[in-house]
Symmetry: C2
Subunit: 164 residues, 2 copies
């Protein structure tokens, strides 16, 4: 039973690793250069600090996700894994939210602020960004499931009266 649980967790961790790695790569390789009214417009992730943050955050979480399964089962490092999982999941949702906010303006524009949608000009770039956002949110959902599952099964019995 414990062995099945460990194997399931391991599979989920590798899936989360794959999702955040895909998000990093797809966003980092997003690039499209177009000629708009005789002006060269080059769209890539570095045009926005939010997209840069997204790439860095997903790269960090990928590195973490790759390393964790190699911690020996009896290592004291496992004491920190729950806290680290939580912190990196926060990093993931934070970078996702920032990138989504900017991607939304890129897609829809913002009439009041006078910011025009740019996805009509650079559709390939926008498709990459969309793909990266989807991959990242899959990674987030997996980490969130791991966290809530751990709380539910391992930690809950201890918590009554411990937080007041």
């Amino acid at each position: 039973m414990a062995k099945t649980k460990r194997a399931t967790t391991l599979v989920l961790r590798f899936m989360a690793f794959g999702a955040t790695l895909a998000a990093t790569i797809v966003m980092a390789t997003s690039h499209q250069t177009v000629d708009v009214f005789a002006t060269i417009f080059s769209a890539k992730y570095t045009v926005s600090p939010a997209f840069k943050y997204f790439v860095i955050a997903n790269a960090i979480v990928s590195a973490y996700g790759l390393l964790v399964p190699f911690i020996p089962a009896e290592s004291k490092l496992w004491r920190s894994v729950f806290a680290l999982d939580m912190v990196f999941t926060m990093l993931l949702i934070s970078s996702f939210s920032a990138a989504l906010a900017i991607a939304y303006v890129g897609k829809k524009g913002n009439a009041q602020a006078g910011w025009f949608a740019i996805c009509g000009q650079v559709p390939v770039f926008c498709d990459h960004v969309t793909g990266a956002l989807i991959a990242s949110v899959i990674g987030f959902i997996i980490y969130m499931s791991l966290l809530l599952h751990t709380i539910h099964t391992v930690l809950n019995p201890l918590l009554v009266g411990g937080l007041g």
Copy 2:
């Protein structure tokens, strides 16, 4: 000792409640109408979906923060408080990140995308947004401290081998 800890936690929870409530109110009341080149430009939080999300998220976390201290000490609801704290802290950092990403474009613009900074035209609005972001991040830091403190003191001894 347990009583002091409980009192400290309660004070921190009320501070976090105050911070998220302040963030909600300051963002929701941000409003400035200016006349730019004979065009009336009205800036308020509803111009951006990210700012709307920020107001809703901070209002939800405020309501939660107000209710939690009134849960009776022996209630079984405390079993869920750690998980709820975590989920609402994620909501907080997510809405903060989205709003910050948009506020940054408002402040600095984005030359490549052709999005102009608007804070020069509506400085009062931008000051409100900045204040709301600061209040919200204070709320986030308090909740994060509560979470990490709980993990450190209550939960850690259980975790070795429990997450593999």
